[in-house]
Amino acid sequence: MKQFVAVLKNGLSLENPLTVLMIGLCSTLAVSAKFEGSLFMGIAVIFVLVMSNVLISAVRKFTPDEVRIPIFIVIIAAFVTIVDLVLKGYFPSVYSFLGVWIPLIVVNCIVLGRAEAFAYHNGVMLSIADGIGMGLGYTLIIAGLGAFRELFGSGSLVFLGNTLVSFGPAYRGPNILLLFPGAFLLFGFIVAGSRALNRRLTARKEAM
């Protein structure tokens, strides 16, 4: 259990897929213009990550090394398609915003990366922990980025049609946050920030 928690925590800070491992960047930057969309993206990734980690970890003993990639990827693709179909059928507004990015979860470097690096070598329980940890780490950043960009860029935060926060109609935020340079820029700062944080964490760990 201790290990489970440790693996889970790892994804959140010291091995955060986005800020430390630098994978899964595409969707992070692309869909984070809106909080709602990025949250759903995060959930979708968690779902796919956990499910595929479980399955891959379960079948890892029967997977010939030469064809492991095709097998992993078909498993992942199946879960992604499920997400795709479900969102299309039940959350059309989210679907229309996420659009391309759902199929692209398949090639989201986090998913295949974790399959290769973790699930293929570890048991089911730990793989679940890894999936949740990595997924949460991803979601944390992407949703935070989404909230920031939407709030400060457009002046309000909308979730499923409800305005959560609003700066009022007179607010003229820096629109650039909603455009692609803004995404790169903010993410650069996030990486810098999380690095500084990590450095302090590591230092503390060493001191202990």
Partner: protein, 195 residues
């Protein structure tokens, strides 16, 4: 047999493929209904918004009519022609789903035309315009109403565009022009109501 590489590698892959495909096919059959319902509902909603008088919109599937409409619309795509029917079953006009082109990509919109061939309303179904700029075509509450009452493509062409969102507003305008042209091409209300 076990040593055959084709079998050793092929079996696991085949198995995964079969299971995945079957699973997906099943999921698809489950979600097919909701997906189509969603799509239909969305269509109806945006059509109703631009032609509130109508209760239902019936899709016109006549290939020759669609072809005529497409030709008349030019660059703009005609994604759907609908017969607008009120509670009594009478044709009150037509709804057109068209796809035009803005600054950031396609702009899909619904145009409602009444019995007299006049635009009743225009709604944007989806677009990818820059927030704060191109999005003015929706945010600027005076823009879409400018098309109300126009009866021909020529009239529509005179609608003023929005400064700073020229390309987007011109895109919307082109969509309306095309919708009107298509409506004329298929023979106006008569054409639409002819079953």
């Amino acid at each position: 047999m076990r040593d055959n590489i084709y079998v050793r590698l092929g079996l696991p892959v085949l198995l995964v493929c079969i299971v995945s495909a079957a699973g997906l096919a099943m999921t698809y059959s489950f979600t097919k209904g909701p997906i189509e319902a969603q799509a239909r509902e969305a269509e109806q909603k945006s059509l109703t918004a631009c032609l509130p008088e109508a209760k239902t919109f019936e899709k016109i599937a006549d290939a020759s009519m669609l072809a005529k409409a497409s030709t008349a619309a030019g660059d703009v795509t005609v994604d759907g022609l609908f017969r607008a029917v009120d509670g009594t079953g009478a044709t009150v006009g037509a709804g057109l789903l068209v796809g035009s082109r803005g600054y950031g990509g396609p702009i899909r919109m619904a145009v409602g035309v009444d019995r007299n061939g006049k635009v009743v309303g225009v709604t944007i179904v989806s677009m990818n315009e820059t927030p704060g700029l191109g999005s003015k075509v929706v945010d600027d509450k005076t823009f879409l109403p400018r098309f109300k009452g126009l009866a021909s493509a020529d009239e529509a062409r005179k609608v003023d565009t929005i400064t700073g969102a020229t390309k987007s507003s011109r895109g919307v305008r082109k969509g309306v022009e095309a919708a009107l042209a298509a409506f004329t091409a298929i023979g106006g209300v008569e054409g639409v109501s002819a079953k």
